[in-house]
Amino acid sequence: MTSLKKLEYLKTIGIVNIGTNGLGFSNPYDIAFSSDNRIFVINRHDAPINFKPEDASAIRVGVLNYEEEYLGEFGNGFGENDGQFRLPVAMDFDSKGKLYITDEFNNKVTVFNSSGDFLFSWGDYGDGLGEIDGPAGISIDHEDNVYVVDQNNHRIQKFTNDGQFILSWGAFGCGKGEFNMPWGIFADLQGDIYVADWRNNRIQEFTNTGEFKAIYENDFNRPSSVVVDESGLLYIADWGNHKVKILNKSGNLLSVLDGQATLSKWAKEWYDKLPDQLEARKKANLVPELPSQFNTPYQKSAQTEPYFWGPVSVKIDSENRLYVVESLRHRIQVFSI
């Protein structure tokens, strides 16, 4: 298609680091930006199935900056105690600098300060008002209301920033205002709420009290995340197609991103120590022609290193940069919008 919205690729951040702590990512799942421009990244990590006690702390939040300095990390490893995670999904900051993180296994929202100290958590499993089953996306509006995607109850719940239930909307279904295992959520500056209605292959827009406003569809395959820029353009992580799509408010498709990752600063530092491997990479065809049986979005991305593979989250920072978090390539691609 002709691209009606050009984005400039800026850089790639990340390197795979599984099973150990420190610089690098292990299945990154979401990203958030503090007011002092630090970048926070959830590492979901593959501990649940490959669980080894020594790996437990690799489920963590890594902290870095745009210049790719690794500043540290926090989280108390795998578990259900204070500050621990099992299956962390998403996070967002409130106006006071507190970071809220969902965990779809523990059925909790856990709150840290921006230094990574545990503050408090809430969440009771169930389907009653205020109870949650598989919390996924989270977004906090400019009035510090907290919107949580209640994945397995197929609804959105709105809380105060200390976890008091305000209201909820939605039920299982494919009609307007209904959901099928929703995932990502975004509250824009106008107070509108956008939801990645994952298994209905669409984005839905609501008022901040849950009144239906619009549906956006564009051959999505399980969209996982949505963010809206100041001009009202929607950026959607089309998870099952392994692409990012950009739509205007009329629902017109303006651009599709495949991903164009290059070596990150951390990757270059790693190759500096292993020049033979760098030579092998230089000789490789990173965007190969594939046999027909691999003509699926998953396989194309598994076989084509620069492409997005598992784009779970899209976020925009204060400098109008779009970050695409790739859970399966352990990296983040950054574009100027």
Binding site: I15, N27, D46, I49, N50, A261, A280, Q299, T304, L328
Partner: protein, 455 residues
């Protein structure tokens, strides 16, 4: 001869992983021959959707390591509505054995199994051709190191010895000539196999004509400018190939031992192989519809593999219908019993039959099956208990109850075993007092018997 219900239970056990009473009800209405056609021709098979699995298990989505990838297959095994599709994939996985230790690329090992799933009941020529191009196999048996100016015979040898004809049916020269024909069958980006910086990049087949031996070859008595395709054309038309494949299918789907009646059934399978143009589906149809297969001597004639035991038990208990971290436990259980998916011990696959059983693995089998089948919290066990209660009259003996429970899970208990179990049942059954617990206890007992280990 078995009655219809028992006959179909036998078919589903051998061709799949057993059947719940509800599934059997439907199959009996269809009739045996129609069920055979249904299982041989799966259309739009359904199982727990991959998107739901990938969302919950990021490690399965990435398929970087063996356990999550085995868990992905385990979900499919325990939730598919086309069990023969999985059973035949498991058969080829054991026969064309590739393992993580040698391949180190789980995405491609899963792709290999997916290829077995898609082609496993189809034409044997197509299957061998795709196997020859399969990048995991190319790594496993070194065909990536098979060059026009320096052949590596590993793939050529195993293709003939372990995968199609069997030893004694070809010469050393045939091995060399086959190997020459497969030179240049390699993969793209052969030297680039990164783990860092961004995880593994999957592989795909490439034919490198600069590294292929285009000269004349003589193979199994035929001479020509053969490529790998023509080598496979020659292999599949050999009588030895028909016998090798039919025998292996018979041992896997019918009986560990082959007697004279069994040999006659194999002969008919060989005939079906040729008359159908090498269709595996036709070979199995010949087996499943034979009087020999339906005879008493072919029931409970095989030791269940660990995967058959674990999957068959869990399909009864219906405990894995949505993603759960406990899926790892199923992979581990099969490992404790001696079988880890994607990790056959060598290119010869697993040693089957009674070799599955030793004192250690037997305890694992008994403990797992008994615990699963007696767990009244499992939805499938709950349904089973309700049905057993519903089908029994108010006044029953311990033996009535034992017979009904064993019938429900398709386990044919010997009189000796029955006597032993009856001695272990504490109280006479009382439908008004802890009857569910008693049924659960008996189901657990049955799952711990010798007979439950057989299929």
């Amino acid at each position: 001869m078995l009655n219809d219900r028992k006959l179909i239970m036998h078919l589903m056990g051998k061709s799949g992983f057993g059947a719940t009473p509800e599934e059997l009800d439907k199959y009996v209405l269809k009739g045996y021959d129609n069920v055979v056609e249904d299982i041989l021709n799966p259309v739009h098979s359904s199982s727990l959707p991959e998107d739901i699995i990938y969302r919950y298990h990021v490690d399965i989505a990435e398929s970087r390591l063996p356990t999550p990838t085995a868990a992905k297959w385990m979900y499919r095994l325990v939730t598919t509505d086309s069990p023969l599709e999985e059973k035949i994939a498991l058969f080829w996985h054991g026969l064309f054995a590739s393992n993580f230790a040698d391949v180190q690329q789980m995405t491609m090992l899963y792709e290999q199994v997916d290829m077995f799933r898609k082609l496993g009941l189809g034409n044997f020529r197509d299957l061998l051709l795709e196997l020859s191009k399969d990048t995991a196999m190319g790594q496993m048996l070194d065909n990536i190191d098979n060059h026009a100016d320096a052949i590596n015979e590993n793939w050529g040898r195993e293709l003939l010895e372990l995968f199609s004809m069997g030893i004694g049916n070809y010469t050393e020269d045939d091995v060399k000539e086959a190997s020459r024909a497969f030179t240049g069958w390699t993969r793209d980006n052969l030297e680039y196999t990164p783990f860092w910086p961004y995880g593994r990049v999957a592989w795909h087949h490439k034919f490198d004509d600069n590294d292929h031996d285009f000269n004349t070859k003589t193979f199994l008595g035929e001479t020509g400018n053969f490529d790998g395709d023509q080598i496979i054309d020659i292999i599949v038309k050999q009588k030895a190939t028909a016998e090798f494949i039919s025998t292996r299918l018979y041992q896997y789907f019918c009986s560990d031992q082959i007697d004279s009646d069994g040999q006659l059934a194999i002969n008919e399978m060989m005939e079906a192989y040729f008359t159908s143009g090498y269709e595996i589906r036709s070979v199995l149809r010949s087996l499943f519809k034979s009087d020999h297969f339906k005879s008493d001597k072919c029931t409970y004639s095989k030791v269940k593999s660990p995967i058959e035991l674990v999957v068959g038990t869990v399909r009864f208990s219906e405990a894995y219908s949505k993603p759960t971290l406990a899926i790892k436990d199923l992979v581990d259980q099969a490992t404790f019993m001696g079988q880890t998916l994607f990790q056959p011990p060598s290119v010869e696959g697993w040693h089957e039959g009674v070799e599955w059983i030793d004192s250690g693995t037997l305890i694992e089998r008994v403990n797992f099956a008994s615990s699963e089948m007696s767990d009244l919290n499992k939805p499938g066990v709950k349904k089973l208990v309700a049905r057993i209660k519903n089908e029994l009259p108010n006044s029953i003996s311990n033996e009535d109850l034992l017979n009904k429970c064993s019938e429900m899970i398709g386990c044919n208990l010997s009189n000796t075993t029955k006597e032993l179990l009856l001695d272990s049942i504490d109280n006479s059954p009382n439908k008004n007092h802890k009857f569910d617990d008693q049924i659960g206890q008996i189901l657990g007992f049955i799952a711990a018997t010798k007979e439950y280990q057989l299929i």
